[in-house]
């Protein structure tokens, strides 16, 4: 049931993005839109690929592209050079591990190492982003920004699925059915938060305080 809702709901951010196309004209938003399309297509063809026993390849490839898109989005949102450099170095390590795992033995149905490493890195990048925004004195209401909602979606999704991804490779079919609901719940939440972000108006201009009086009134 949850799986079907999660798969069906994938269309929502795509439709909303296209409706509010004028509000979503930044590179970062296009990257997330691209991710939504990819995720929706993967969800739809997953059943077919699973039947052909391509589960490992599907998960690995999806992790590979998902990481690329999310890290690109965060890279575009970050301002501090040091954080960007860390992101590039970590990405190189991540891709090294993912390619190594992909090329190695494929005895498991799920690429736990890559997925959990991706989740850990994403949590760290999200913390970088939030720290940077907290430090910026010009930003008064962080939740007025579109990218804040995307980051919150990523943070909630990856922090709640981290442990699931660590153990996913060792799951039996029954355990997989029991626990995969966690992924579905937070996937739905992520989709909803992406949709909220696409609906929001662009508030990227620096907000200013107004006390309601000007010098003319003095």
């Amino acid at each position: 049931m949850l799986t079907k809702i999660s798969q069906g709901l994938g269309i929502l951010p795509i439709v909303v993005f296209l409706i509010f196309l004028k509000r979503n004209n930044k590179k970062g938003e296009w990257v997330i839109f691209l991710y939504c399309i990819l995720s929706f297509i993967t969800d739809q063809i997953y059943g077919f690929l699973k039947a052909k026993n391509y589960t490992f390849s599907v998960f690995s490839s999806f992790t590979f592209v998902e990481y690329a898109l999310f890290s690109l989005f965060i890279y575009l949102s970050l301002k501090e050079k040091a954080f960007k450099v860390i992101l590039i170095i970590c990405s190189a390590i991540f891709y090294g591990i993912t390619i190594f795992t992909f090329a190695g033995k494929r005895i498991d149905s799920f690429d736990s190492l890559s997925a959990s490493f991706e989740a850990s890195l994403m949590i760290v990048y999200c913390i970088f982003f939030l720290y940077e925004r907290m430090k910026d004195p010009a930003i008064f209401y962080i939740y007025y920004f579109k990218d804040f909602w995307i980051i919150i979606a990523l943070l909630l999704y990856f922090s709640s699925t981290l442990f699931l991804f660590i153990y996913a490779a060792t799951f039996t079919s029954q355990e997989h059915r029991n626990y995969w609901g966690i992924n579905n719940i937070f996937d739905i939440l992520k989709t909803v938060l992406f949709t909220i972000s696409f609906i929001m108006k662009d508030n990227n201009k620096k907000q200013e305080f107004s006390l309601g009086t000007s010098y003319n009134e003095m």
Binding site: I123, I127, L130, M134, P137, I139, F140, Y141, I142, Y143, I152, L155, L156, S159, S160, T161, L162, F163, L164, I166, Y167, T170, E175, N178, Y179, G181, I182, F209, L211, T213, Y215, M218
Partner: protein, 282 residues
């Protein structure tokens, strides 16, 4: 179903998975809540700061407007009470010439009218000098301050002296005027309120900083008093000093000397600001 798995004592993996996920989720939600509350706290603090600054600006602006009005009233009073009657008297003497045909009386009344017109010229000159001292305009801050101190010393009740150690290059004319007005206000305050027997002014520079220090042995104020007076409705002169120095991005410090005998007032300015203004002017 997840709970059923957790309650199974043999399932260590599910226990770690369950508590790990709950823990991570709690940490994430905690982090988000912390960020939002922290931001709200920062916003409240910044708003409070801005409101304080806004009130202070309003007070300074009011003080400067009031002072300007007082100055206008003083000039109006000088012109109305002194120049007006003098010119009216001169007119009366000249009128007399038309009526009186006696040569001696005519000469006498012309002489009287000339004397009155001379007095009026002197009066208008005094008013003009009080608006813009000619010494300051022609010879600079050092000469104008020396002049001011000589006049204060002239009464005999107080010993006033000044010494400029490093004033080879004059500041911009409008900045000199602002500094001169501040010094004038400080000297006036000392004369009026402190009961001092001496005032000594020194000027020097240190790097890019320009300093003017005033010492006196009367009853003075400290920085805390200055800030208190600045926030209250009294102390118009001090607010005026503050608003003038704000234009120059300058600072003023009121303190008691280490020996606890003298009061010291230090005016500190940035010479770089002055150079920037000069460059803008060019």
């Amino acid at each position: 179903m997840i709970l059923l798995q957790v309650t199974n004592p043999g399932s260590n993996v599910s226990l770690v998975l369950y508590f790990g996920t709950i823990g991570m989720l709690a940490l994430t939600i905690g982090l988000i809540v912390f960020i939002i509350f922290h931001q709200r706290k920062v916003i409240r603090y910044q708003l409070r700061l801005q409101r304080l600054e806004h009130d202070q600006q309003k007070m300074l602006l009011n003080a400067s407007i009031r002072l300007q009005e007082e100055e206008r009233q003083r000039i109006a009073a000088d012109l109305h009470d002194d120049a007006g009657p003098l010119l009216a008297t001169a007119r009366l003497y000249l009128n007399e010439n038309l009526v009186n045909l006696d040569k001696t009386t005519q000469l006498q009344s012309i002489y009287n009218a000339k004397q009155i017109i001379d007095d009026t010229i002197q009066l208008i000159r005094n008013i003009s000098h009080s608006l813009m001292p000619p010494t300051l305009k022609n010879f600079g801050l050092e000469s104008a301050v020396n002049d001011l101190f000589q006049r204060s010393s002239g009464s005999g009740s107080m010993n006033a002296s000044s010494r400029f150690h490093d004033y080879r290059e004059r500041l911009q004319a409008e900045n000199e005027l602002i500094i001169f007005r501040v010094i004038q206000e400080l000297v006036n305050n000392i004369l009026k309120h402190s009961n001092a027997s001496f005032i000594h002014l020194t000027q020097n520079t240190s790097g890019d900083r320009f300093f003017i220090r005033l010492h006196h042995d009367g009853r003075g104020i400290t920085q805390a008093d200055f800030e208190k007076l600045n926030k209250s409705n009294v102390g118009l002169g001090l607010k005026n000093i503050q608003s003038r120095l704000k234009v120059l991005h300058g600072k003023i410090f009121f303190e008691k000397d280490m020996s606890q005998t003298y009061y010291k007032v230090t005016i500190e300015l940035d010479k770089e600001d002055e150079q920037d203004k000069l460059r803008e002017g060019e």
